[in-house]
Amino acid sequence: MYRKVIFPVDMAHIERLTKALQTATDLARHYQAELCFVGVTSTVPGPVGHTPAEYEARLNQFAQEHATNGLKTSAKACVSHDPAIDTDKTLLQAIRDLGGDLVIMQTHAPNVLDYIWAGHGDTIAAHSEASVFLVR
């Protein structure tokens, strides 16, 4: 039913992704779909990488680590000039470019701020043409 599952990943907070990551690997295996990890980085040195190339290497390695039991994984590192603002836009573009048909992502429980500032998951769900599965 699904051919390509997109999993946006925040490499700085991998430890918080357990539930969503499990959901993504299980579903990808179930539908024999490719699981593509998409990360957004900047050109400025950050906690995850000093350069975009270093970030990409870490993301690739992360993807390979999850390629177990016949699961096909891939990785896509996107560079944004201003990830604090442009992350949603960059992710939406990546989902389109990669031809993902299911997006699975971690999000936070809704709070009052969501009325003013939607979370990344909310924005992706509202604007992506792919199906979106938000894991609270």
């Binding site: 950050g46 000039h81 442009d86």
Partner: protein
């Protein structure tokens, strides 16, 4: 993960990490970007801030706003006295420091170090030349060019207050034009002295900061914050209190340097609105300026929420187009041929007078040297962490030589063209109409600096349209500075992280507006200038050390 030596920490890095886009000399440190950050939650707002740097800067700024508002009557005179003391006591130091920055930049430009590429040998530029240049120009001078373009040359040409540069003869004395030879000499001195303040020296200050930040972030892999520059001097100790002090000083310098420009901008925009729309007495109090700061801060907020590419970059390009339109208009309807021929004369005068003007000792033109040059240098220095970090952020992929050419030489020429167009037209009006010209009324007869630009425009055709463009430009420059400034302060106070929650940028954009408004209420422009001088002066010492670290850092790069 900060340690790039995968043999030392195989469990972290796992595999050999790739070179950062071609050869570059990454500094190995155990410091992890963001390791000193705390992530408190205030209501629904999650923050990601560097512990001592954000907390100290935030509290001091809030305290400053409250105290200045509470003691409006005493803060103003105190700040004014401080400005006078600092610029008259340390003028030689500031002027000397400015010369050192220019020499360092020119030295790097012609040396083999110029071949090094920011971001590693194979890095490619993030922005096109036009977008890059628009952003660095809008950040670097912006409002200042609007405020001083007419004011400064006209002032030096006919000042009745004895502030003429190098104590030369002035062109107008007591409302009477001097003989043609004196007038021409006074005009050339005025233009050279103005271009001196907007030419190589300020851009060298920016270039030193920007190049250092870019080098230590993009080539050495250190966090994008001011303390990283000092790694060659202090080593790992830079992550301790020394670094905190440097970063906090950078935050204050940025905040007050920015507030000065915002104050100038608000005064000029409100004066312009009053002048164009015939509203009497709009600038008798600062109320309207403060209202304007509030509105413009609101606009800056929208720009902040649109991010770097959707906000600052777009605004900078709008600015660039509007500024070019205004300048071309002034050149075409003004004394076109005179201006064209004057440009080369002005550049010649600049280069022949630069040694006399930049000489730090043994001069008797106190009014000019202390009141103007020393103030400018301190102002540029206090702006430099802001402009420098902003330029650094958009300059990845440029070679050092390309960088210095575009940050030092081209802006100097553009500033000289701008000053020739605006100042040259203003002086031409002074020469032809003497006391009847509006510029005479606003600059020499009575000193109303914020109206000088509109006075000059009022004598050209379509004054209503061009004045409105002038006001719009001031406002858009204002929004751009406020937005990019909050971006920079946020990065410094987040320990070099650029993806910290946006609510922090919102905090800084609001406080920049508040500081500017507070300073205007608590003493007007004098208070603004005093604030930037007193934060710029100590930062000059920091920058001199940075020159040493920059050269050391460049020498260790593979060439």
């Amino acid at each position: 993960m900060a340690n790039l030596d995968d043999d030392a920490q195989p469990e972290e890095a796992g595999e050999s990490l790739p070179e950062p886009e071609g050869a570059s000399e990454v500094i190995e440190t155990d410091y992890e970007i963001g390791q000193d950050n705390i992530t408190p939650k205030i209501g629904p707002f999650g923050l990601d801030i560097h512990n001592p740097v954000f907390v100290v800067s935030g509290l001091v700024v809030v305290a400053f706003v409250i105290i200045t508002l509470a003691f409006q009557d005493t803060v103003g005179p105190a700040l004014g006295a401080m400005r006078g003391y600092l610029t008259s006591t340390f003028d030689w130091f500031l002027i000397m420091a400015g010369n050192i920055f220019v020499l360092v930049c020119l030295g790097i430009l012609v040396s083999p170090l110029g071949k090094i590429r920011i971001g590693g040998a194979e890095a490619t530029p993030d922005y096109s030349y036009a977008g890059w240049f628009a952003m660095l120009f809008a950040a670097g001078m912006g409002i200042g060019l609007m405020f001083f373009g007419v004011l400064e040359p006209a002032y030096y040409f006919g000042t009745p207050w004895g502030d003429q540069p190098l104590s030369r003869d002035i062109g107008i004395v007591d409302g009477a034009l001097m003989d043609p030879a004196t007038v021409e000499a006074a005009r050339l001195t005025a233009m050279a002295a103005t271009i001196y303040h907007w030419g190589l020296h300020p851009w060298a200050i920016y270039a030193v900061v920007a190049l250092s930040l870019a080098l230590f972030a993009y080539n050495k892999g250190l966090p994008l914050t001011v303390r990283s520059i000092f790694y060659p001097i202090f080593g790992e100790k830079i992550w301790g209190w020394r670094g905190h002090v440097i970063d906090i000083m950078a935050v204050f310098a940025t905040l007050f340097g920015l507030a000065t420009s915002l104050g100038f901008g608000a005064q000029q925009a409100s004066a312009g609105i009053g002048y164009v729309f015939g509203i009497e007495g709009i600038n008798d109090t600062v109320t309207f300026s403060v209202v304007l700061i509030a509105i413009i801060t609101g606009l800056a907020l929208i720009s902040v929420l649109r991010g770097l590419d959707g906000g600052v970059k777009v605004l900078s390009e709008i600015n660039m187009v509007l500024a070019i339109i205004l300048m071309v208009f002034v050149i075409l309807v003004g004394p076109t041929m005179t201006l064209v021929s004057q440009f080369f004369g002005n550049m010649g005068a600049y280069f022949s007078e630069i040694f006399a003007l930049s000489n730090p000792v043994g001069r008797d033109d106190d009014g000019y040297r202390q009141g103007w040059t020393a103030f400018y240098w301190a102002w540029w220095i206090s702006w430099s962490p802001f402009v420098g970090m902003f330029i650094a952020r958009v300059s990845r992929g440029r070679s050092v030589r390309e960088f210095i050419t575009c940050v030092l030489l081209i802006p100097t020429i553009v500033s000289a063209i701008w000053m020739t167009a605006f100042g040259g037209t203003a002086i031409d009006q002074l020469i032809n109409q003497v006391t009847d010209s509006a510029v005479y009324g606003f600059v020499i007869e009575t000193y109303v600096p914020e109206l000088s630009l509109f006075g000059m425009l009022s004598e050209l055709p379509f004054a209503a349209i061009t004045s409105v463009i002038g006001i719009v430009l001031v406002i858009v420059f204002f929004v751009t500075s406020s937005d990019s400034g909050s971006l920079v302060i946020d990065t410094i106070t987040a320990g070099g992280k650029i993806n910290a929650p946006v609510s922090q940028r919102v905090f800084w954009v609001i406080f920049e507006g508040l500081v500017a408004a507070t300073l205007l209420l608590g003493g007007g422009l004098v208070a603004l200038q005093a604030a930037s001088v007193s934060t710029g002066l100590p930062f000059a010492i920091v920058l001199l050390l940075a020159c040493y670290a920059l050269i050391k850092g460049l020498m260790s790069e593979p060439r």
